[in-house]
Amino acid sequence: MRVLMFGWEFPPHISGGLGTACHGLTNSLSQENIDVLFVVPKLHGGESAERTSFINASDVPIEREGSIERYVSRTAVDAETRKNLYQVIRKNDRIRQIEVPSSLSPYRSPSFGESSSDIEHWNYPIGSEARDTTPKRMTQLDEHTSTEEKVIEKKNIVASYKFSGSYGPNLLEEVRRYAQVGAEIASKFEFDVIHAHDWMTYLAGIAAKKVSGKPLVVHVHATEYDRSGEQVDTQVRAIEQQGMAEADCVVTVSNWTKKITVTKYNIAEEKVQVVHNGIIPKIPSAKLFSPPPVGSHIVTFLGRITHQKGPLYFVEAARKVLDRIPDAHFVVAGSGDLLPLMIERIAQLRMSSHFHFTGFLRGKDIDKVWSMSNVYVMPSVSEPFGIAPLEAIQAGVPVIISNQSGVAEVMPHAIKVDFWDTHELAAAICSVLRYKSLSMTLAANSAKEIEEITWDSAAKKLTQLYHGLTENQRCA
């Protein structure tokens, strides 16, 4: 079984949880005897996973004047469009890498028009060491490219679409170009199922389906409603809608997200399958950090400072915590468009001296934050899954999460509150800070709990789905 997978990022070069999820999934799928052909907008070097081929879309030539309508519209694709237009840049056993360059990011709706530097990199340790070794690894990979296939150029073709590399008016244009690349790739490779991760790749998935006639799985890691509340970007929403409608099977990362696809996108419940995310086991590193620089009651918010993550509820709860525990301190690790509003509210409540902003963090700095935190709070307004609480637990930090998060479904031992109930949230924070026995029990039980939350079980469920689709044309 071979799966053509459209992703947006892949470790080590990632912007957030999507890349981590794709990494975990592809690795575990290899144990299920699944080969993956993984397409990303841009390969940065250093990407690798068992039985996974990477395709660098930057190197896939597409027609300059080409339109995606013939791929994503309902009409059949004529043979002339199935051209031999790809370039396999790396071939490693059964692994190929294809890349599509783009400035898109799955974490923002395009209407914000912000630069990608505003998106933080907090989910995966990207050390400078990893980057340093990249060229070396590239060389090693290149040695294996003896079977590299040649590009066959046609006259009406340009080498590749020059993506802007930033957010802007070209955003949707880039998504459409990615779909063109998807069609080109689909016409050239053998595979059994198409699997597209999040909205930027849905059009590519649809195009690939039209070209190949293979079943399409769209994997919903987040929806526009999670990212933007009710102020959805209509164009992004339309692409999501089209992707879910044209898919043979919709996979969501939680029941919470399934409910959104059913209620907000009117997708038939039977067509939606829940596959919870896993977490890659990590042996807790030795305590590398000195005592916290501020106080000894540290409450941590780690995540993008956007509507979705509920930062303002955290602030309101903090005021109530400080009224009871005046020496509590709050560390805010992350950045985002709500940071100014958050800071102003904190100042208004006269808590500036108790709030500490780290900016966005990666790698060792995240470990430092975990090692000084007494409790991690994720008051997300709508969180499809939420990997950060699992990482906190891996680091031995007890967590408080909102009921409106997918991760709550797999964590019976976390404290759960409604994001809007800042009173309850404050009470929970105070309890964990005050009662060491509670804090220790939570941390210990959750640590046991997350041993069961693996990518292997996610991959098993996906494999079943693939077989159901290819053998019975059923999403089950």
Binding site: P293, V294, A347, S353, G359
Partner: protein, 434 residues
């Protein structure tokens, strides 16, 4: 000749003052650096700025002024140098201090009083304000051998209360901004008097004529000529007898670059004013001594020369600024109890108005000016960094305080023993006498 002069209309007085100030900039303190004994100040940046501004502005302008004063002994002008810039000049550009000293020695230049730290100390309770004013006066004396007699507060912040404090320190005059809402229809071009302190005269900066040079000297490709400017001055009504102009000294060569012709303008206007039959250049103290107050100026609320509002909103206009300043203020007691001069010094440097100015979230023209001066990409970064520095500083204060507490804890015990010994001794004495 003499007869002719006495018959002519009295000359108008023109007071000119230049503000010379650069803050001691704070180091970029990341959250993880808190408590790691990082330096408080970003000395490299200070050095770089002082060296650049000295080269482009302070040295050439001082040189020009010295030349002009030698040529035209009628020239009078004044400077206000903050304590923190004098400190930085000592370290990074002593030749600038030397050139100011040469200007001082001409006798044509007066130095004004201000708070040493160019601070918002006037907002603090107690004697902090007076301490910083006197510390500044000491520094002036140390460098220029003069004692100031006219005061101007940080960014011309002023109200009746500040006037009272200044008068009690013995100052004869104070300069603030000619803000319409306190003038209530009157012209700023007079000498005013404090409502209670009869001996305190007030000079009001004519901000329109000042900003014509400071902000509007070159705009949209056009530059202001000395003739044009002189014609504006000549157009003022004859009964308006004192015109006060004040601006950043950095106007000459830094805000307005050399290429705009700002130095030529300065040379021409000073030469023309020195030779003028209608104007007489005066230092602020000459003006307050020689001129009678025309009316009383009531200033019940804070005014300043900053932004459109000309109030405190440039520094304490938003919640971040107020919370940061409140947090700093709340440390006063602990800071002073440490008896640690370095800690006290840092606390006072953190009061420098610039740090709060960078946190302003004003938009439009004022916002542009705030951004121009700020070393931070946004007010939020300025705020976060300031709070990180303040948190780090708070820890130092706590440690120093704990050190003192240990000392006091052992001390009373010892004292108690001694007291008992003494008591026993006294009883014994009493016993023996009876």
């Amino acid at each position: 000749m003499d007869l002719l002069k006495t018959n002519a209309a009295p000359k108008k007085n023109l007071v000119l003052y230049f503000q010379v100030h650069q803050p001691k900039r704070l180091s970029n303190l990341r959250f993880f650096d808190i408590g790691a004994s990082h330096p408080v100040y970003y000395n490299d940046m200070d050095r770089e700025i002082i060296e650049r501004v000295s080269h482009e502005n302070y040295l050439p302008t001082n040189k020009l002024l010295l030349k002009l004063i030698k040529k035209n002994p009628e020239i009078r002008l004044s400077f206000s140098l903050s304590g923190v810039i004098m400190e930085q000049l000592e370290r990074y550009a002593p030749e600038v201090l030397l050139s100011f000293r040469q200007l001082a020695e001409t006798g044509a230049v007066e130095f004004l009083s201000e708070t040493y730290y160019h601070s918002l100390a006037c907002m603090l309770p107690g004697k902090e304000f007076e301490i910083q004013v006197l510390k500044h006066a000491e520094k002036l004396y140390q460098h220029f051998g003069v004692r100031p007699s006219v005061f101007r507060n940080t960014e011309l912040i002023y109200n009746d209360e500040i006037g009272k404090k200044i008068s009690r320190l013995g100052y004869l005059g104070v300069i603030t901004d000619g803000v319409e809402r306190v003038l209530q229809g009157r012209t700023p071009n007079h000498v005013f008097q404090h409502p209670e302190q009869e001996n305190l005269k007030i000079l009001l900066r004519n901000y329109r004529l000042s900003d014509d040079i400071a902000f509007r000297f070159s705009s949209e490709g056009k530059i202001l000529t000395s003739d044009k400017y002189l014609s504006w001055l000549n157009g003022l009504p004859s009964h308006e007898e004192v015109i006060t102009l004040g601006m950043d000294y950095e106007t000459f060569g830094e805000h307005q670059k050399k290429e705009t012709g700002i130095f030529k303008f300065l040379e021409e206007i000073l030469t023309k004013l020195a030779k003028s039959n209608t104007f007489q250049l005066m230092t602020p103290s000459q003006a307050v001594i020689a001129t009678k107050a025309q009316s009383i100026l009531n200033v019940p609320y804070f005014i300043s020369w900053a932004d459109q509002e000309r109030d405190l909103s440039a520094w304490l206009g938003n919640e971040m600024q107020r919370d940061a300043f409140d947090t700093l203020q709340a440390l006063e007691f602990d800071v002073k109890n440490t008896n640690d001069p370095a800690i006290l010094e840092t606390w006072r440097n953190l009061q420098t108005s610039d740090h709060l100015y960078y946190m302003s979230t004003k938009k439009g023209g004022d916002g542009t000016v705030h951004n121009y001066f700020s070393p931070y990409p946004s007010p939020y970064e300025a705020f976060i960094n300031y709070m990180n520095v303040l948190t780090d500083f708070t820890m130092r204060v706590k440690i120093a305080k704990a050190g003192n507490t240990v000392f006091h804890d052992t001390h009373p015990a010892k004292a108690e023993v001694e007291r008992q010994v003494q008591a026993v001794g006294t009883r014994m004495t009493m016993l023996s006498t009876h």
